[in-house]
Amino acid sequence: MFRVFVLIGGKCIFTQLMAMNRMTVAQIRKHLSQFTIAIAGCGGLGSNAAVALARAGIGKLLLVDFDLVEPSNLYRQYFFCDQIGTFKTDALAENIHRIDNSIELETKNIKLDELAVIQLFSDVDLVIEAFDQAAEKQMLLEAMLVNFPEKPFIMGNGMAGYGNFEAIKQLQWDKQVYICGDFTNEISEDNPPLAPRVGIVANMQANLAMELLLKMSK
C-alpha cells in the first residue's frame, strides 16, 4: 500500500492509493504463464491485445476469428503486408511466435456463436472480447453472463476516431464483466477506427487482464 501526502492550499491531505502488488518481471511472467486467455476476434483490438499479453508472458492464447487479413487491416491491426490473404488467426499466431515461441497457441477459424462460446471457453481463465460488430459483442456478452458468470470478461466498446483520449475509460458492469472504451464513438466511413485509439483500448484490455490474473491463483 502506498501512502501519499498531497498538499492542497497549504493543507496536507492524506490519501491512499489502491494497493499495487509490487512484483519483479520474473515473478509476473511466472504467474501469468499458468493462465490461458481467449481472444474473441483477431482484428484491431484482438491482435494488439494478444501481442501485449504475449510480451507480458501469458502462458497460452486461444485465438478465434473467421476472417482473412486484408490490406486495410494493416492500418491498425498487428499484421504485415506479406500476410494479406491468410487467416488472421494463423497470421497472428505466426507473429506471436516470432516474439516468443514458448507461448502455447491454439487457433480456431470459426465465427463464434453461443454454442461455440460454451465449447471453446469453458477451460480458459479469461476472455477478451475484440469483435468489430455490435451484434457480435451483444451475443458474446449475453452468452458469457448466462454461461460463465464467474469468468473474467473484458470488452471493448467505442474507440473510433482520434484524439479525445480523456473520454476513454474502464468500468465494471457485472461481477466479472469489464468494459473499456469511450462508449460513444461508433465506426463509420467518416469516423474510422485508427491505430492509436484502437491500440489504446486493446492495451487497456491487456492491462486489465494482467491485473485480474495477477490477483488470481491457480
Binding site: 475484440a130 468489430d132 455490435a134 451484434a135 459483442k137 451483444q138 456478452l141 474507440m159 461508433e186 477506427p193
Partner: protein, 67 residues
C-alpha cells in the same frame, strides 16, 4: 413509480412497464443494447415480457461497433 435507470432515479407513469417499453420511452437510440434488472440479465428475446416495477434497478448498456 420510481425506478433506478443506470444509477439515476427516474419517475415512470403507471405501476409497471416492460423493458421494451422503457427503452422506447427513454429514447435509447443505439440499436444494440444489453439490459439487466436488479443485476440479472434480461436477454433480447425476454424484453417484451419482462416487467419493471417500483423500486427496481435497470441497467442498459449500449454496444458500439468497432474493434
Amino acid at each position: 413509480m420510481q425506478i433506478f435507470l443506470n444509477n439515476r432515479p427516474e419517475q415512470i407513469e403507471g405501476d409497471e412497464i416492460t423493458i421494451s417499453e422503457l427503452i422506447r420511452q427513454k429514447n435509447f437510440t443505439f440499436k444494440l443494447l444489453v439490459t439487466k434488472i436488479n443485476g440479472k440479465l434480461v436477454r433480447v428475446g425476454e424484453r417484451d415480457t419482462t416487467r419493471v416495477r417500483n423500486g427496481d434497478t435497470v441497467e442498459v448498456m449500449h454496444l458500439i461497433s468497432g474493434g
